[in-house]
């Protein structure tokens, strides 16, 4: 990967023996290190599985609270339910009719079910809290160790410093504003020698260093066993139910990131980017 910057850097002096041929070590732009490619797909599978089994777990008690405790006798800031044959989503007292998707929906065979999230969005697709928990905790291990391994390798091999660390000038508000305007016009370009523009970098930093680790810590804060051993996670978020609410909010933020991420890949350079994240463009 060091070859990439060299190949793209206009200040790089031309090689004497092979001026036209790229060096065999040079990696085409958009290619990623093997560790990054492996983690990317392992992480995708674990995040999708965690999200869908998480929706089933949420179905067991589709209400969210702030603070240390919360139950059916306490006020909820978010609730999904059903009343008079209609499904609803209630946030901060405002109620939306969500019949057909949230609260009440019809199965593929036409059976009407009262459930917060519909079967097509959950693992398993029928109501089964025990099984959803088995899926969730198994993939939580893969997710957590995958993230840890990726972070360690990427910090050591320079991936993070090279590709997603923000340079000083990139923080300049004018630079950031230009990137935001360009993104809104679906015009994407990166500065010479850079893999990503500042907006991309900030997104990856927010996901890799904030959102993903917070999923682990808010998850651990909900566990009575972990909470007895390490009280700081749930204290940090203002209580077990606050941690549960944040776990839910960050999970949906990650899904929003995933949708935007996939949309941008599709409208930008789908084949090149997909190859770069799988077999590489040299293959």
């Amino acid at each position: 990967m060091t070859g990439m910057i060299a190949a793209m850097d206009p200040a790089d002096p031309p090689r004497l023996n092979a001026p036209a041929e790229p060096s065999p070590k040079a990696v085409p732009p958009h290619d990623h290190a093997l560790s990054t490619r492996a983690w990317h797909w392992i992480n995708l599978v674990s995040l999708i599985t965690l999200f869908m089994s998480g929706l089933m777990i949420f179905n067991a008690h589709p209400r969210l609270y702030w603070g240390e405790y919360g139950n059916r006798d306490e006020p909820a800031w978010l609730a999904i339910g059903q009343q008079a044959q209609r499904g609803y989503l209630e946030i901060g007292g405002a109620r939306l009719d969500t019949t057909g998707v949230l609260g009440r929906y019809s199965d593929s065979d036409g059976t009407v079910r009262n459930r917060a999230f519909p079967g097509w969005a959950t693992i398993p697709s029928d109501y089964n809290l025990a099984d959803a928990r088995h899926w969730h905790f198994f993939f939580a291990w893969i997710f957590a160790f995958g993230l840890l391994a990726f972070l360690i390798i990427s910090l050591f091999n320079g991936h993070i410093a090279r590709m997603i660390a923000m340079r000083g000038h990139e923080w300049h508000p004018r630079n950031l504003w230009i990137t935001i305007v360009d993104h809104a016009r679906l015009k994407f370009h990166t500065a010479p020698g850079e893999a990503y523009n500042p907006l991309q970098k900030l997104s990856y930093i927010a996901v890799i260093f904030v959102a993903l680790p917070l999923m682990i810590v808010t998850g651990l804060a909900m566990s009575p066993g972990t909470d007895a051993a390490l009280q700081w996670p749930s204290m940090l978020f203002g209580g077990r139910q606050s941690a549960r609410s944040l776990h839910f909010i960050i999970a949906f933020s990650l899904m929003a990131f995933l949708l935007v991420h996939v949309a941008l890949v599709i409208i930008h350079k789908p084949l090149t980017l997909l190859r770069g994240m799988t077999i590489g463009n040299r293959a």
């Binding site: 088995h134 899926w135 972990t226």
Partner: protein, 258 residues
């Protein structure tokens, strides 16, 4: 941009289309995997890992958080059995549990049947703790009862006893309720047989007259309506082998620390 690269339109359509197919296949595939015994055993490796890590972090006596009286909420909702329908229990409840006894037997030197009055007269301990249900909700309440380790010492539990099985008076759809814990949790300083909640005798919904508090695990481990505690070498030989009603009936984890 797209009109310059017609081939990439197909690519995009193909991508979007294959994403749709993948989503449909993903779900039915997950349900098929969910029914596969080998896959289920693989998933359940997580429980072993969770227990090993939590026990290493917690040690024997790591304490669950205790709260102040002003943290107590509106209620500790009753879940599972709210009113046992069993005739014997109904009779006991109608007479104020005057004849209720708690037997402790199995691998013990002195099998004993304690009267409810005896239990309530024993040195009591009180703790304000958070009850976490597997469904996701929590409630804070003040529990008063007798330390379980003190009861175990009174009946002299044998060294061969590795688990306690709690036999309960309530019967659910799949059979009688029961639970089991190992000796680490049994002898934990906060583990108790509780007989009062928020300074009142236990309400029926919360397990009157006697229930277990095992503070570092989820609510379904906290057996209610306890009639008998049996010290055993292996909980897998009792009832359905899962170590608890919900473990047998629905496949919940035996170790419920997470």
């Amino acid at each position: 941009m797209s009109d310059k690269h017609p081939s990439s339109i197909i690519t995009r359509r193909a991508l979007v289309g294959s994403l749709g197919v993948a989503a449909g296949g993903l779900l039915s595939g997950c349900d098929a995997l969910n029914a596969n015994p080998g896959w289920r055993d693989t998933l359940r490796l997580a429980e072993t890992g969770n227990m090993a890590v939590q026990r290493a972090l917690l040690g024997q006596d790591g304490l669950a958080r205790e709260y102040s009286p002003r943290d107590i909420g509106r209620s500790v909702p009753a879940n599972g059995t709210r009113t046992p329908a069993d005739p014997d229990y109904r009779h006991q409840a109608a007479t104020g549990f005057a004849d209720w006894t708690l037997a402790i037997d199995g691998l013990v030197e002195k099998p004993t049947r304690f009267a409810l009055g005896q239990i309530r007269a024993m040195p009591r301990q009180t703790q304000i703790t958070r009850h976490d249900c597997v469904e996701g909700w929590s409630a804070i309440g003040k529990w008063t009862g007798v330390n379980l380790a003190a009861l175990l010492d009174a009946v002299k539990v044998r060294d061969s006893a590795r688990y306690l099985v709690f036999h309960c008076a309530d019967t659910l759809r799949a059979g009688p309720y029961y639970e089991s814990i190992d000796m680490v949790d049994a002898r934990h300083p906060q583990t108790m047989i509780a007989w009062a909640l928020n300074d009142e005798l236990l309400p029926i919904g919360n397990g009157a007259p006697l229930r277990l508090r095992v503070e570092r695990q989820l609510g379904y481990k906290h057996a209610k309506y306890i009639r008998r505690i049996e010290a055993v070498a292996d909980y897998r030989l009792s009832y359905g082998g899962g170590g608890g009603y919900w473990e047998d009936a629905a496949g919940y984890e035996w170790y419920a620390g997470i």
